[in-house]
């Protein structure tokens, strides 16, 4: 990335040699991302991140196909970018069906099928849920949408680079991905757009990215995303195995020592590095702060929704009682995590949960911070 910030400073759109040099890097990055998706490099459009990609797909896709219908299907456990883009479509007069995920956060093909109408033009179902890690069967959903001639978009921000994502096998028309989820830079992402799919661009300008996403390219970010994609492709299988093992080790350790804990999301069809656990009687936010003070970073709900103490809408949509939603944390394991770190994390969590539970027992009822009526 530094090379393209400090030395190779050309604009990929320029005709001169500096521009051509930059263009080569841009094309290399297109190739890298396309290789992980099993698509043509021409079908990859770089954006400012997953959120912009989701918006381009939902709003741009729906508006461009309005002549064919006005009904859009999304699931009720999508990331706020998809959720709010769908809300915006509704404000613009589209009809939205929000299909319910099951108690594990899985969106079933049958549920999508049941929601089809003659006016459906677009379906959006995430490949992997960002909060609980559940993996949806996009291949099965893609078969349905292809049969009906309906566009399929999947928010693949959590799956790209981590588990196989084959847009051909899945019959995907649109897929969003993001750089910082695969150890690339923040502020960069991409949208896969199947050749022939019509999309209204969100803004207007020059001819970059086939006018779908104009603007001088964020070349350092794009290069970073491309290299991250290459590394993921090389290491995906080994990493998935390693992370699954570490994750299972962590969860087992917690189960051995603590009672009244539940795993949220599907027990087996889940992202290798994801754990989302409810600890009964413990406020998730308090546990997060306790871990932070010990140098361990976890989250409650997606980063885009932090700042309030409302329980995660995704967990509630899955049918978790508010107290359990309020008492959950999400841990995502990654490349840099070692076995020692996992073991230490388990110990810190166990100690913190015990302490929080003990103090909660001693506190008078009216000073408990968990709101009962959410």
């Amino acid at each position: 990335m530094n090379e393209y910030m400090l030395e190779k400073f050309g604009n990929p759109s320029s005709i001169h040699s500096f521009g051509r040099e930059a263009k080569a890097a841009l094309e290399q990055a297109h190739d890298s991302v396309a290789a992980l998706l099993n698509c043509s490099p021409d079908d990859v459009f770089f954006t400012s991140g997953g959120t912009e990609a989701d918006n381009l797909a939902l709003v741009g896709g729906a508006e461009a196909n309005r002549h064919r219908g006005d009904h859009v299907i999304v699931s009720n456990v999508e990331h706020p970018a998809v959720r709010n883009a769908a809300d915006e479509l509704e404000r613009r007069g589209f009809r939205i069906t929000r299909v319910s995920a099951d108690r594990w956060g899985e969106v079933h093909p049958e549920a999508i099928a049941a929601a089809f109408t003659d006016h459906t033009i677009l379906v959006s179902v995430m490949h992997v849920n960002n909060e609980v890690g559940t993996i949806n069967d996009i291949v099965a959903i893609g078969k349905l949408t292809r049969e009906r001639g309906v566009l399929l978009h999947s928010d693949a921000v959590q799956s790209f680079g981590k588990i196989p994502l084959d847009v051909q096998a899945m019959n995907l028309d649109l897929a969003s991905l993001s750089g910082h989820k695969i150890y690339g830079p923040k502020g960069i992402g991409a949208l896969y757009v199947r050749h022939g799919v019509r999309l209204n661009p969100r803004f207007f300008g020059g001819h970059q990215e086939h006018r779908i996403r104009p603007g001088t390219e964020n070349l350092p970010g794009i290069v970073g995303l491309g290299v991250a994609a290459d590394l993921c492709r090389k290491e995906m299988d080994a990493e998935a195995a390693r992370l699954s093992q570490l994750r299972d080790r962590l969860y087992r350790h917690l189960c051995d020592e603590l009672e009244d804990i539940t795993l949220n999301g599907h027990p087996t069809k889940r992202l290798p590095g994801n754990l989302n656990i409810s600890f009964r009687g413990v406020e998730g936010e308090a546990l997060l702060m306790a871990l932070d003070l010990e140098g361990i970073a976890v989250s409650t709900g997606s980063a885009c929704s932090s700042g309030s103490t409302q329980p995660s809408p995704v967990l509630l949509a899955m049918g978790l009682p508010p107290e359990d939603a309020q008492s959950s944390i999400r841990l995502t394991l990654g490349r840099a995590n070692t076995e020692e770190e996992i073991d230490r994390t388990a110990q810190v969590i166990i100690a913190a949960v015990r302490r929080l539970r003990a103090m909660s027992d001693r506190l008078p009822e009216n000073s408990k911070l968990i709101t009962q009526n959410s």
Binding site: A286, A290, L293, L363, S367, T371
Partner: protein, 350 residues
Amino acid sequence: MSGGVDSSVAAALLVERGYRVVGFTLKLWDAEDDDHARKVCCTAVMARDAGRVCAILGIPHYTIDLRDRFRDEVIEPFASEYLAGHTPNPCVHCNSRLKWGAMWDKARTLGLQRIATGHYARIQAADDGSPRLLCALDNIKDQSYFLWEIPAELLAVTIFPLGELTKSEVRKHARRLGLPVADKEESQEVCFIPRDDYRTWLLNRNQALADGQLAGEMVDREGRVIGRHNGYPLFTIGQRKGLGLGGGTPRLFVTRIEPETHRIHLGEKKDLDCGEFRVGSINRLRNAPFDGRNGYTVKIRYRDPGIVARVTENGNGLYISTDDPARAVTPGQSAVIYCGDEVVAGGIIQ
């Protein structure tokens, strides 16, 4: 940490003394309008400024949402007090129920062992080693008046780093430490009331008041009706403005508010003098009972210089009598009892 210079310097001094410090910003209320939201102590501004200070000090910073608790334990009682014809003091309850209450509970669950604020007040050990709450050295900035409701058992874990400093010394520290809040304006008002206009706030909240259902008569000392008012909760003891009586008459003041009859009693300045009053909802910071001896000073409002008083036990409450009369003793306000510099007890004037 409100992002203001006081709490920022308090945190910084503790870090310099070698404490392991964690900064908390409390989200207590939602802004009523954009103007209100831009006030110095709105949560987003507070959190941002406090966050910058914590980043400079290298300490963790968390914002905790206590809106529900604040609404139930500060805002609701505040409104109810006005409807009861009293003049409440919400900052007192915010301190005891939110800061030394909910926030302290949360801090304890994280294993933290002390609570500190930027209040101008002091904790000092008495001869027997027990902690005492004292007024600040800076008379003008002293905020001990608002701290009487702190549970006595929490004095031992409370630290007030600013108690021996003047405001200008605090600002000097802020500049020395490079804190960006050194010259920040202070907020003096009740934080959740836009522009400190509690009358408009009450009118917006209470339909009966807005509809004029709490209007009534204004009567003089002889009981003669001399005017009408538009709602008794909008008045306070000692008030002389806004009575709608025009000039020429001897200056009249509100001397009593009767919620049952909606009547507001008016009198002359001397009618505001009061030599004895009852205080309830007592909190004692020192365990000794009051035996009617002299030697105490009582403050009946913030910035009151204090008046010499005798204090006696009176059932669950206290009975206070003074030789020189106090002016405009107002039910709902706090009466804080000092022995020298020490806050011995406090309560609500009945």
